[in-house]
Structures are given as C-alpha cells and as structure tokens.
Symmetry: D3
Subunit: 315 residues, 6 copies
C-alpha cells in the first residue's frame, strides 16, 4: 500500500482517513499538547527528549492520555517504521504527537478520555532550503510573547494563535519573514515555533529557558557547541544586541540550525550566514550523523550551483 | 432519520461523521475562531450579533472562511431548522461555528482555504440547573487573564487553554467552581467562558468590554437592565468589591443569567440568589420571550419541590 | 527682503542664520520643550491654547525661558506678521517655539538661562495632500509608547526619538505609513506626532488625555464634534477596535483632520475616507473658517480631477 | 590662535562659531546619538570603544552620518590634536561626537544627510573634585528609568530629558545629589549619565548591561578589577543592597571612578570613600597611566590640606 | 477620675493600662484592620460609614472580631461618651478601632479569637493647624503604592509600612512634607493616610476608588461638593496634572479638608490655599455643622493675627 | 519561678505580663521589623546572622532601637539563658526580636524612641512533625508577592498581611497547605514565612535573594549543600518547574528543612520526601550538630512506628 498511516485513538488508519471529531476540545478550545520529532534518514532523532517534554506538558495541563509514555513510544516507533519506506528521495518526517481533551472526558481526572494522534508528515525541505544559503529574515511584531503566568510557554500547548498573529504582522514587512517575539519588557524570546541564537565575539547567546519553549534542538545545539568548544550563554538580550550581533540563527526540530541574516530589514553582521553557524552545521553532521543542510539543498532545482559539495560529512 | 446533521466544509453530514483532518491548524495550533449561539424553543437567538462578532474575529485573525457572512447565516439557519425536530423535551441547542486554518491554505491571503464547521449541540441543562437555585461558586486562580497585546480576549479564538488551566486550579477548591480570572493588576475580568456582574446598592457593575470577551448575552443583559430601569456601569473592580457585593451573577449564551452566590468559599451577600438577579431573570422571560430558568429547572428530577411555579412568565 | 526671519535668543535674524550653539542642551540631551502652531491664511490659530500647553511643559521641566508668556506671545505675533507676506500661493506656516536649556544656565533655578527660538516654517501640503483623498496607513510597531512615569507624554518635550524608532518600523511595511504607538498593555495611544480617533456607529472614540499629548487640534476636534452633534468619547481602545471601526482619522496642528483608511495593511471600514470624517472636515471650514482640505489639494498637480469642488465652504 | 576649534558638518570652525540650524532634528526632536570620550594628558582614551558604541547607536537609529567610522576617527584625532595645546594647567577634554538627523534628509535611508559635530570641551574638574574626598550623594527619584522597549538605554541617544527630570527631584533633597534611577520593579539601573557600583564583602556589583548604558568606563573598571584581583558581578540589586553596602561608586568618562558615600541622606558604609574604591583609583593610575584623582584635586584651592600626596602614581 | 478609658478585649480599662500581648499577630505580622472616626464637639461623625468599611475589611481578611457590628457600635458610643468630658478646650477625638488576629486563634475560622481595641485619642490640632493657612507640601517618593493584587488598599489593614517608607523619602525634601504615592504607571494614588484632590477650572478631580482607601471623608467631600454645586470627577491623573492644577487639597478623618499648596517644591496654582478649598471648608461648617478650620486655628498661639474671624459659620 | 521571662523596653518581665501599648505603631501601622532565631538544644543558632539582618531592616526603615546591636545581642543571650531551663522535653525556642516605632517617637530621627521586645516562644514541633514524613502541600494563591519597590521583601517587616491573605486562599484547597507566592510575572518567590527549593537532576534550585526574604536557614542550607557536594543554583523558576521537579522542600528557622511533596494537589516527583532532602537533613545533623527531624518526630504519639531510628546522628 502506498499511503502513509497514522495512529488515531487506538487505531492505525490511512492518513487520508485520520480525522477527529468536531467536538474535540483540542479543536474547539485549544486544550491540547503536542510534540514534533524529526526523523533523520527515516530514524527518530531524540525521541526520548521529546516524550519527556510531552510528559511535562501533560503534567501541567493534567491531560491524561490514557496510555503510558512507554506505550506512546512504542506506537511512535511503529508508526515511523511503517511509514519509513514511503519517504520520497532525500525525504524525512516530522512526527507529530497531539493529545487533546474531549468533552465529557474530564481528562484532568484519572480515567478521563483524551484524543491521541500520532502521525508522520513529510518535511517540506524545498520551501525553506534556500534560507540555508541566504539566511532568513526576522521581524519584531507588536504582538507580545505569551506570559508565563497565563500559558507558560514551556508547555507545548496547541493554544498558540499568538504565533499566527505575530506572523501576520511580520509578513507585512516580508512574506518570508519569521516573527521574533519580545516580552513586555522588550526581551527577545523566541521566533514563532523556533528558538533564537545570536553570536557575538564568538560566543553563542540564547534567551534563558524560562519564557520560551525549551527546544529539544536548542538543547542539542547547546550540547553541540560544548563539544565543539564554542562558548554559549543562556541570557536575556534585546533587539539592540541582535542588530549589533555578528551572526544569528534559529533552531527547530525540522530545520535543525538555520542562519538568520536580517532583522527588521537590516543585515545582521555581514548579512550572510557566518562562520560560526557554518561550523555548527558541519559539526552537527559529524556528531549527530546527518547533514541537514545538504539534505535540504538537494531539494533545490539549482542545488549544484548554489553551494560547493561538502567534503566533510555524509548522511 | 434520527441523527442530527452538521455542516462541515461544504457538506451536510450526520453528526457522528462530522470530523476534521488531524492536520487542521485549528486542532494543531489553535488557529481558529468560533461562536456559540443558542436556540430558544428551537429558534436562533441573536444570531446576527454572534455573526457580527465572528466577523470581527475573522478580521483580526485574517482567516478567510471562503464564504460570505450571508452564506454562513443561511447555512446556520438551515442546520438549525433541520435539527430542530430532534430536540428532546424542553431541549434547546448551542449552535457552534468553528472556522480554522488548514496547512497549505494560507488563510491570511485571499483565496486561502479554511475549515468551516457549523453544528447544533444539545444544551446540558441538567448539569447546571441547580445553580439557578443555589448560585454558583467562583474562585480566583493564580493564572492570569490573557493580555490584550498577546491574544486580545475580544477575539473569540480557539486558543484558550488558559481557561482550562484556571479551571483546574478553581476545582481544587470546589469541583463545581468556575474560575474568575484577574488581570495582572488584580482587576476582575471574566469567568472562563462567562461574563461577570456584581450588584451593589441596586446598580449592576461589569468589567469594561476591553480585556474580556464582549459577550452577546452581556449586551442583552445590559439592554435588559436599561429596559427594566436597573442602573448599570461598565467599570473595573476587584475581588474586594465582589466580596462586599450584594449579589453577583454570570452571563453566557447557554445559561443566559445565572446567580453566583460564593467567591473563594465566602458567601456573596446573603449567599443566596438575590432580588436583582431574580428580577433580571423574570425580565428576560418577559422581554426576550423565553424563561431559561424554568426550562432548566424542568430538567431537575426534584423540580417541583425546588422552586415555586412562576406566575409571571410564559415561554 | 525676501527671506523669512526667526527669533533666536532675543534677536530677529534671517532664517538662514538662525542657529544655536552645539553646546545647547536641547541639542545635546533633548532638554527642551516645544510647540507647533499653524497659521490659517497667515493668521495664528489657537495660539493661546498652544502657549498654555507650552507653559505647562515649562512648569514640569522647570525650564525658565527668561521671558513671560505674554512676551512670548507678542514675539510670536511679530514673527508671524513679518513672515506673512512671504507665504507662497495657498501657503501657511507651522510656527515653532523651541525652548531648551543651555549648560551653565541651571534653568531649573530662577534666573537660569535658556535658548528661545521662534520661527515660521512653510507647511509642506504637497507631501501629504493626497492622503485627504485616499486616507493614510497606520502601522503598529513593536516599540511602545513613552510611559507616564518616565517622560510624561503630556509634556511636549524634544526628547522623542521613540517616535523616530516607531516610524522606522512602520516604514518597513509601507514607506508612507505612520506608526500607531501602543502602551505596554496594548492600548492605542497616539500616532507619532498625531492624535488618533476611530468612528464606530457614528460615535468618535479617542484615547483619554493621559498617556498621550493632549493635542490642541484634538481639543478643537472634540469641540467641533460637539457643535456638529457628533457624539464623542475619550476612552481606551485597542487594535481590535481599530480593525473593526467604521472610520478612523488623525488630528495634528498642520494637517488638522486627516482620514486613516488602513491599519497594518487592512482597510478600516470601506478603506476609503468615510462620511463622518468628511462631515468634520466640512464642519471645520464652516466653524473655524478655513478649509484645510481644499487648501492642501490645491497643491496637487492633478487636483481638479481628484475631488469635486466643495460647494459648502469658503476660506 | 587661541580659540579651540570644532568640526561641524565637514568644516573646522572656531568653537564660538560652531552652531547648527534651528531646524536640526537633534535639536527639535532628540533624533540624535552621541559619545563623550575623554583625553588623558591631552590624548584620547579608549576612542575605539567609544566609536564602536557610536556605531551601534547609529545602527539602531539608522542615522547615516555620511562618513565612515574611520573618517570619524581621523577627524576626531585631528580635532583633539589641534586643541591639545589649548588645555589649561592640569586640563583635559571631554571630546563630543553628536550626530543627528536633519529634516528633508531621511537619514534612515542610504544617502540621507545628517549633522555631524565633533568638539573638545574642557572637563570642569573643579566643580566635582571635592567629591573624590567626600563621596557624592545619590538620591532615588520617583521618575523611572527609560524602558528597553521604548528607547533602549544601551543606545546613547540625545533624547534623555528623563535624566533631567530625575535630577530635578534629587536636587530637592540636596543640590549636589545625583539621581539614581530605578526601573519599574525597583531594580537599581544607573545614575543620570553615570554607571553605578556597590561593594559588599570585597566584591563589586553593578547592574547587568541591559537596561543601562554599557559605559566604556564601566568596562574599563571591570577589566581593572580583574587585573587587580577584585571579584566583580554584573547582577541586579535594589536600594536595600545599596543601603547595606560597604562602599559604592560611580563610573563615567570624565570622572572615571568617584566614590558615592550617601544614599537618600544615609551614609553608605562608613559614609566615607572606602578602601576598595581607593584601590581602584590607585590601580587606574598604575594600569591606565593617569591619576584622575590627583588631577582633579589640583583644581581645588585647598588641595594640599585635603589629601596626602600620593606616593604610588604619576601622570 | 481624670484618665480616659479604652476598650480592650471585653474590658474597659484606663488608657495607661490599655495594652496587648507581645504575641498579638497584629503587632507581630500586621494581621489586623482598623478604623479612625473623629468626633465633632465630642460626638461621633459618620460612625456608621466607618463601621461599614471596617466590616468590609474584616470580610476580606476573614478576621472574626467575635462580636457583631452592632455590639462594636454600642461599645464605641459608650467609650466616646465616657471620654467626652475629658476633652480639652476646643478638643476632639480620633476614635480608633483595631482588630487583629492572635496566634492560636485561627480567626479565619468561625470561633477564632481576635484582639479588639477601641479607644479615643486627642486630635493633635496644634501640630497641623498652620497648614490650613499655608497649605501643606506633597512630595512624590520613589516608593510605589501598594498594588491591589498584593494588599488591596481598599482594605484598611495595619500592614502599612510602605506609608512610613514613603514618608522617610518625602521628609528628605521637607520635614513637613507628606508623601504622594504613585502607582507603577505613574498615576497619583493617595497621600500616606489621606486622599488627594486637585481643582482645575472649577472641577474637583480625585483618583477613582480602586487603588486607594475609599475615605469616608473623601465621600463626605464628594457629597458636599454636590450639595454646593461644585462639579467633581473620580478619574486617574498624574503629577503633570497636579503641577498644572489651580488648587489641591487632602481629605482625612481628623483634618477633614486641608489645602495642599506645593508639590515637589513647586507652588500649586498661586501657592496659597485657593477659593474652591475655602468654599468647601465653609460649606463643611454649614452643612456638617462644625468648623474644623476654626477649631484647629484656635490651637495656634498667634491665632488672632493669622486669619480673619469667620463670619459665616458657627459650630 | 516557672514562667518564662521576656524583655520589653528595658525591663525583664514574666511573659504573661509582656505587653505593649495599644498606641504602638507596630501594632497600629505595621511599622516594625523583626527576627526569629531558633535554639538548638537550648542554644542560639546563627544569632549573629539574624542580628545582621535585623540591622539591615532597621537601616532601611530608619527605626532607631535606642540600643546597639551588641546590647541587643547581650540581652538576647540573657533572655535565652534564663528561659533555657523551662523548655519542655525535646523542646526548643523560637527567639523573637520585635522593634517597632511608637507615636511621638520619631524613630527615623536620632534620639527617637522605639519599642524593643525580645522573647522566647516554644517551637510547636507537634503541629508540623508529620510533614517531615509526608511532605507538605504548597498551593499558589491569586495574591501576588510583595513587590520590591513597595515593601522590599528583603526587609523583615511586620507589615505582612499578604502572607495571611495568601494563606486564606491556599487553605481553601487544603487546610494544611502553605501558600507559594508568585510575583506578577509568575516567578516562584517564597512560601509565606519560608524559602522554597526544588531539586532537579540532583541540583538544588532556589529563587535569587532579591524579591524574597534572604533566609538565614536558606543560607545555612546553601552552605550545607556546598559542604555535601550537592550543586545549587539561585535562579528564577516557575510553577512548571515545580510540577516537573524531582523533589522540593522549604527552609525556615524553626523547621530547618522540610520536604514539600505536593503542589496544587499534584505530587512533586514521587509525592514522597526524596533522597536529596533526606541527605540534607542528615547532613544538617552531622554538620550543624542537631537533628531537627528526630527532635520533631519525638513529639508525635506514634513516633516509633513512623520512622526507623536514625543511626547516623546524635543531638
């Protein structure tokens, strides 16, 4: 069979039939939590870390998935394995876990019922591959980051329309721009769906893991930096520091590490991806064993001209 | 046929088959807006006001439903009419509109695609009818109201897990309690899903229509008060004022007006529904033509003993 | 002589020689206050109100201009009278008062010395005339309004680079856009250098005179509305209300009343100047005796085609 | 010739003729940035650091000075060299760079025109020399520090009337007092125009380089402390910590390091300059090669009696 | 007997023996509420309003005084009556109610034990009488008003050391100054222990009854203004408005209405008590039946010279 | 004699006669500071640290106790020594210092008069001993922590009714619950009267010593951790981190270290006291020489069954 399958509430179904009720409280009220794990050459990368964070989100929202984390892991591996052969050339998956409340099922109470969905979605490398070469553009919207005493951003909930609202504003400046959310004091927090780093005098700086999602890829990057001997700090900073940084980049599960070359229309540093980002990208391939840049670039029509063949890395 | 139908993306389907894709961005990211309109004896009450607010929510989120508000109205009336015969005794519907983004459909851009769902859901009168007699209990959680510069609460979006988080805290005090959300300065905002009023020296006070959802039932209540000669103010107030109020009540589409008799374990006024609430309830029946209290009480097993037959009103 | 003159520290000098020392603390530290009054057909409009506000700014900053308000008025009238003949066709002046501290002159102490500058500057009607026809575009930057407990915006000080910073962000969206500053809670405050009004259901709404400059033209507009029987409220509101308004407009000394037809790329109401703005514009000409729209449009090359001749008003 | 010269917009002019137009936007709207570098025995101290910060301020405000930083450096050195012989006995200069926007010159856009002024101003040692012996008095005004999301204090802009407003309040307590600005949470930020340090148990503490100007002298002091083996922390603290500190001092370009011996009328520590400040002062002379205390004291009439001759240092 | 008596926990005792345990939680932790009512010619003025507010404070803090409000009233009248003969010439009393928790007595729980103290204290007219002639001086400290979501200032609790802290700062400027507390946004709130009014263009303005104690004398003044046809608004305002007001005054139980003639060292209006304050003072005597100004001035040694005999009023 | 004595304003009196005037400003206005030191087997533990903090509180509030810190120490030791023989079996004291202002005594001015009280109070081990076995329950109230720019929590003042207000809310959830106060951004601050720690992956985390009381026991615990080789950080964290911690505990003078096993009804970690807390408890006994757990458990009727005899420690 040629269709990917998904897990929905205890059953394996073809993706095209993977649906949830219109009465689901994840759909109706955003009462849900989720994770996105990527595959590398078809294999799950850092699944345990993603499931640990999923567990923390479930704890905070008191949603009872009705199955153990071990069961969720087993099902995830099963879904990923079944769909692995269906990847396209140079393809990989973003593996989604969505767990939401349903009405009548008081999921805050033991025994309550929840919607549990696990699926694989092809990563759209083509749509963003060019940004590995050019860097992406970040823009600060007027919308502020979600405060910790409303919906703590460390929880990965499905109530995140503020990211959409920020994106609408950023895209007024540049249709490709990604919104960089500030908190009410002007501290840089996170890009919608991505963590953010700057580089100044050879040191990485990224906001503390408080008013942001503590990204698994952010952790992977901090570990990588340590292995590569690149100093890194978790510290608050502001637009001033981004404007005057040498380099900047984002991290997220599907893109791993992607350079950010402009903020609010101005170049960051030279306005091109810089040497520290490149070192991290190469180091990723060496240490984590897959070259996400090379993989993405293969999806570009003009790939060969765009970037010299890497000599160091192999998927 | 005995099953209610729903409208999902252009089709009329039986409710049990009314589903949306697991890739819907309303489900995955809370990128959706909604309304809930009630029927009174099967007929839609203040549908135009609900659709006007729906339109305002769509404007702010730039979600394009792909159909005009007139079309949405027509479909709504059609769905309500088809399901009207299926109401149970003394039954009525909460009519839901949910419009959300889907991936690939850049709904912020004309021509983008959205999920549009319209359905009728029986109002669970039985679950809250007793509170018309006893009043409900409101509890202030530590979670704060959504700020206006993050997700303006005047938009009725589906990203509202903070209401769930507040409810979890309130229910630690009393499983029946409804959370009363304060803003970061301690101003009373709204109950999760309900507007809130206090009565002091014969005057209604309700928070201004700024950091809250501007409820259609809230408006109906303010209009009703004016018709009944009850003075009313939209003004900020704090827990102090609730603790020392004569009466309090909530408003919401399905419950209309419901007395609140306790806050944080303490009685408000006498700790019983008071004369102003009663006057509003009776006035509602006279002026808007349906007696929601009487209707709800009929769902109680011990209804007759609980409350004397009303003499004044008729549905 | 064909050159305009200006008053600088006690002397009347040709404008081209009107300079201040590089050591002036207005230049070096923004320790200054100012006013801008317009002429209508060469005559000063509401000068007394502007000087009253200037006096309030001097009081707060304890800058002693070394001359009485009556003297300042007399000099102003003199400067305006001398330069009146030098207006171009359909021309008028923005009359500037700038009073700043100088080092060594401890202007907070009686007897201290200040820089006092009074001049006339031709109003650049041509640069904005088209916006009377099309409406202008307002954009919300991430930069926030100056808080009242830092530099109270009711003082008209020369420390206002935040307006420039907001403008830089707004112009990323549209080079013609004017920044609409929000306070830290998301309340609409003012446009950089302009007050802001919306119209909803026939009523004007403008932010309270607290966290904004209390514009003389804002006052003139509120008085005008009262004379025309247009209800008006000074009340906080948010972007939601602008997005869903029927009309919007700005007020400022040199532009008087100018329609705002878009916010963040979206049309406000029909996206065209609306009937209430037009009524205010016409009422202004009738009651205050000059038709600023007509005057501005005469500066457009294609003026005749652009707008039907007004029948009601005369300068 | 006996008059100092200054650079103004491309020309070298006598200081008495160094003026700018009354239409300059630095003068009118505070749209400008600046630096102050001091000379030590006539030679520029840490000019490169000052120009680097100037460049960062220009980047943030998008003011284009129309000349490269290298050119600015060259002109600065030229101006300083020409004026060097005109210093008085024991004299030194505060070298000012002021770059501001002019109307019509859209300095945010490449090619725009700016005002560029470079000058030398004698440091008024006499006016503050005594404070090296007695320590100065800091007072907390009710005015709050400029927030980072309005005008980030890391930019050295000319919009700084809040420092003047704070000074007015502090001087009500003591005409010599310097205002110590707190942020809205009560954190100590900076003195108007100076950075602030406390000493507790032998360790220096100074607010983080976020909501303050990152002073060049602050950096010089932190480097000096490291060389002298004095531990130092960049950390938030409050009035409580100042009140209970062992010592306190300020840093600023022209005063270098000056003890602060009182806060809000109370002694800090012994109420006299303490051993750590003295060690820093002496260390400065040894390591940076000029004894700013000795130099300042020579300007006092009663210098000999006031302080024993230093044995360790020489200019 | 010549000693005043007081009520302490059920007993009438001579004032010199009126003590509480060192273990009282009012003394140890500020867990107490209080009222201060004044007598006019020995009779209690507006006792009912004071007791109503006391009751509201008890409700919020859940302190159970162990006696009904009617009993408290009866005891109060008894204490006042017994001490009435002991007033000095032109003397009156501040009658204090203090109710606090004691350890072991869980006063939040019905049946808990509290300390109840009721006493009369001679009003020290002499110490402030001169300010009726000269006006008092208000100074804004850096300390902020107590926020509503910490200890709501509408409760009259005994935890009020912030007033003392503000007073310490104000007295650095002037030993007679009274601190004017601002909230964190710079809104004028209240003087330590007094409400505050300004007069502008004949209208009274006083902060809304939200983030302040809702003074009984403030209410009496608002009622008085209404009777005298003086318009009044409850509205937020800032230091700017005080600096530019025509007059200002404070209200408090023992001083009734007292002019404020200076703020932060600057005159308010003419810097003398103005006509509106005078009208209120005279109106008070006429309508409430006692001339508090006249009474206070009689305590001044140089009373006759200080103020012309009033012709209008009689006690 | 069998009654404990106390020191009150210069005299040693039996505790039952230890009283203060009802006019004391500590009682009436919370204008006081205090300390609580414990004895261990009758001897004062870390008295110097407590007196140093008392001195800092006196400095901030400018209350002059009228005696030196050395005298206070001497009196304290005397009081403790006299009462030592009166301890019960396994008993110890909480030694209280309370210093407050009295009216007429302007304690901010040298020479002013203050109330000084020093006493010993038996520690009620029995009331909380069980929590060493089960852990206590912490609950987040809606009331917020006292801000640093109102009454800095680093001062130990007697104005602390907000702790009582928080306790009232927490006890709605569980009569044994202790309130965990959050600041307005949602950061965990302190329990009412206790500091708070979490343990994650073997590292202690406790909020920085800024917006909290810097507990002497908190310091003792951090020193202990260092001696035991347990890593510890002073860092902000939120409810999310507590919910997902491995262990949590509180510190306070009388309880030393006590496990916290639940937050808002949910178990922390296993919901039982964990190994790190136990290691700290045992380490305390070894290093500081008294086993507070063992001592407390001896006050339980069922002590033997509850916990195995410790082998390691001895008092």
């Amino acid at each position: 069979m040629n269709e990917r399958i998904a897990y929905v509430n205890g059953s394996i179904v073809p993706e095209s039939q993977a649906t949830i009720s219109i009465f689901d409280l994840g759909f109706q009220n955003g009462i849900g939590v989720f994770e996105r794990t990527r595959t590398a050459d078809g294999d799950l990368f850092r699944l345990d870390q993603h499931l640990a964070r999923l567990n923390a989100s479930l704890t905070m929202t008191r949603i009872d998935p009705g199955m153990s984390m071990a069961e969720i892991k087993r099902v995830t591996e099963d879904v990923a394995a079944r769909n692995k052969p269906l990847r396209g050339p140079d393809g990989d998956y973003s593996v989604g876990h969505y767990i939401s409340a349903v009405p009548g099922g008081q999921t805050a109470i033991p025994g309550g019922q929840a919607t549990v969905v696990i699926f694989t979605e092809p990563i759209p490398f083509k749509s963003w591959a060019r940004a590995y070469l050019d860097g992406c553009h970040v823009v600060t919207p007027s919308i502020r980051q979600m405060p910790m005493n409303v919906i703590d951003p460390k929880m990965k909930t499905t109530s995140r329309i503020h990211f959409h609202l920020g994106r609408l504003e950023a895209q007024l400046v540049d249709p490709e721009a990604i919104p960089l959310l500030l908190d009410e004091n002007g501290n840089v927090c996170e890009l919608a769906g991505h963590n953010f780093f700057i580089v100044k005098n050879g040191t990485l700086r990224t906001p503390p893991g408080e008013a942001i999602l503590r990204g698994v890829t952010r952790d992977a990057t901090l570990e990588l930096a340590q292995k590569l001997g690149i100093p890194a700090e978790e510290t608050t900073f502001q637009v001033y520091d981004v404007m005057n940084a040498d380099e900047a980049f984002l991290t997220t599960t599907t893109k791993c590490i992607m350079p950010c070359s402009r903020i609010n229309g101005r170049p960051i540093g030279t306005g091109k991806p810089g040497p520290v980002v490149e070192r991290l990208e190469k180091g990723w391939a060496e240490i984590y064993g897959f070259d996400f840049v090379e993989q993405a670039l293969r999806h570009l029509p003009d790939r060969q001209a765009a970037r010299p063949e890497p000599g160091l890395t192999a998927v």
